[in-house]
Structure formats: C-alpha cells, structure tokens
Amino acid sequence: MLKQLAFLFDPTRCINCYSCEIACKQENALPPLVDAQPGTTGPRWRRVITLEEGVYPDARVWYISMSCMHCGDPDCMKSCPSGAISKRAEDGIAVRDAKKCIGCRFCSWACRFGAPQFGTDGHMEKCNLCLGLLEKGELPACVASCAGGAIQFGTVDEISQKVSGRAAMKLAGATDPQFYLLAAR
C-alpha cells in the first residue's frame, strides 16, 4: 500500500544557513562547479528560496528550503520520453533511472519547481529523498543537517501528528506536490 512520503517545512525555524543545500550536495556528491559554470553552483537538488511580503516597516522575509516535491502526478515523469523517471509504489518517491535517461533535459523544462538538474555524468538527476540513507534507517541529509529543525519529512499521517494543532498548508498545484508548510505562529 502506498504511503506517500512528503516534506514538512517550518519557515519560522529556518535561519537561512544553507546547511541543507550543503548536506545535500555532500551526500549526493554534487560538485560545486562555481568556476566552470560562472553564475551557478552546479547541480542543486535542494535550494533555499527567499519570499518577501508586506511593506516597510511591516515587511517580512521568509526562507523556504525546497527540493523535489515527489508530486502525486509528476510532470517530469509524464514528460520523460524514455520512461527514466518513475514513482516508487511503496513510498511515492519520484526516482530516476540513470541507465534509462537519454539526457534530453525535457524533464527540467516540464518541472514547475526546477527539481531535475543536469548532472555531471550528462544525465538528469534529482532528489531521491536520500534513498540510501532511508534504507539504513537514517534521515535524509537535509533533514538531519537542518540546524533549526525546519525541514521534516514523513508520511501524511506522521506529518499531521508533527503539526500538532498548528495550521499547515499543502503546496497547491496541478501535479499534487507533496510539500506542507507550517503557518507562522
């Protein structure tokens, strides 16, 4: 039975330290390529985005760490001509098969969240929720490294327990992204 895994993010706990991005790069051996690709930091499976709201003096800035949303109906999977991206039946993680990828980059055009990245081996790559760590019973690198405990993950039931009375909003979208955001207190 499918127990879809999802991310839960608490923006009030994020301190914009980028440790999630760095941990993700370290765990998945994603090189920086700062000099080879000026203006970029190489493939990033996770990125911290900045959202601004309000007007001075009531302006606020939110930092939100986003990666692949492991959507219920992913655009990347539907667009991939070679069937290299699939969803695991047991936990709904969207994974890509490097041996099937033809490197056409079409998934990166299709994804609304910029999740699939062109990798150093000439094929597309994306967040797989650190499957290797999950299979060892450990947490994904981003979750484990988050200094403020802003990033959490689990099944929808587990997430609803973690919310514990606070309002949480699911990311809207036609692809049913599996990403929940806790409202400010």
Binding site: L33, A36, P81, G114, F118, K170, L171
Partner: protein, 308 residues
Amino acid sequence: MRPAETSAYFVRFPHYQRESEWPLIIYTVLLQSAVGTLIVGLLWPRSWQISFENLLVTLALGAIGMLGAIGHLSSPLRAPRAILNWRCSWLSREILLSVTFVGMVFLAGLIYLLPVLVGSESGHSALVADVFRVLAGLAGLALLGAMSMSYLVPTRPVWNHLDTSASFYTGAFQLGWAVSATLLFVHVQRIEAAPLVLIACGLIVLTLLRIYIILRVVERLRGLNVYRDQPYSWLTGRIRQIRIVLAVVGGVVTPLFSVAVMFLPETFSATVTEGIWILAVLLLFLGEGMDRWVFFEASPSVIFPPRF
C-alpha cells in the same frame, strides 16, 4: 581561478555543459521544412510536381534534422529509448512521428526507384509510392502538432501559447513552398507565366502570414514581466529586425523579382529565375534559423513560486 584550472573542470566533468540550442534549431527548422516540402509537393497541380526530386530533398532535410535531434542528447546511443513513453510524453510522440515521417518518405522514394532497380516497368509502383507520400504527409502534419505541443510547458511562458503552433505550421509551409518552387524552376528550364505568377503570389501570401505570426508573438510578450534577466529587446531588437528583413527579401522581394525577370530574353531569364529562387530559399532558411535561435535564447524558465 586561472584558465588552465577552469578547463580542468571541464575535463573532469566533460558532460556538464550549458544546454546548446543548435541541435534543436537544426532539428526543428529542417524537419518543419521537410514536412512543408512534402505536403506542398502533394498539394500542387500535377504539372508543377517534381515528385522524385521532391522526395529526395524531403528525405535529405529530414535525415539531417534527425541527426540534429540525436545531437541534442547526452546519450545518443540511447536515442531509441526516446519513443518508449509515447502514451504520455509529447517529446516521445514527436520523435515517434519524426521517425515515421522520415521512414515513410524513404519507403516512398524506394518504391519510386523499384522499377529501375528491378529492371521492369510497373504502373503500380508510382501509385503505391503516392500512397506512402500521402501517409508521410499526414504523419508530418501530426509531427508539427506534436513538436509544438512539446514546447507548450508552463515553465516557459514565452513558448506556452498557441502561437508557437502557428509559428511552426506557417514556417513549415513557407519554407516548403519556397523549396518546392526552387525544385521546379531548377528542373524545368522554361516555365509559363501563369504558374510562375501563382507560385510567386503563394510564397508572398505565406510570408506575410509568417510575419504576421512573428509580430503577434512580439505583441503577446509585450509587458510580460519575465524578462528581468532575459532582455525583451531580443524580441524587438536588431536580431528580429534582421529576421524580418530576411523574410521580406526572401519571401516577397525575390518572388516579385522573379516575375519581373520573365520579361527578359528567354535564355537569360531561366538562369536568373533559378538563381533568384535559390537565393530566396537560402534567405528564408537563414531567417527561420535566426527566429528559432531567439525562440530558444529568449525563453527564461520560470520556476513557480510556492502558492499555498
């Protein structure tokens, strides 16, 4: 970092490079012109048709275009996998239809040649070849649709509109008309005034339609705020101006000139007409290539901000 060290990065990661538009420009422009050439060849009256040469040119354009498509892939050897997800991927359908189109054109040409290869006359081979030409034409029409659907993605607002489809269809028929006309004028030394005027008028109408679509695209994108880092001026600047000039010279001025040349002495006018139409084709291909280059370059991807 010193240049030597920078190049060392590329040696370590030879596949990590910026997405190149050239293979896609070659693929889209040549396949579209191949489809246009075949269909215009089918629709023209029998007396204007140069069937076998038309098939040869269509096949050449299609084959070179397919090489461009393969050049776009990081793993060209896995190219056959690209058709596996045809049930839901427009790119898969596009590749499948491209292969079907080029394959049908190849078969039609082969069947035309069959009597020569076998050494016997058969009235059926031309008929069967025509059936394959019609099937290839239908596959080509579907291919243009699938090709444009591949670009209708929400992350690229510049492409995500029906005018992308209109651009692809009008571009295909404009180029196809010009290529078919050039084949006719190269093949037939002296052509009557009426067909020449009609062919010239046809190209002018298709060119004006193509320019109208280009202007519609520019008008639609005016005011879109996605150009913070990708200059809107690319769509109205010098490159587009040159593109319009190429279209006008190639698709309006040269056909008119070829009509005027009819009044020259017969031996002279045939050579000049031939040269004029070859020039028109070159200018139109160059213009369409520039158009497609802007299409790919000025299309910033928009990663959706979270909406809760």
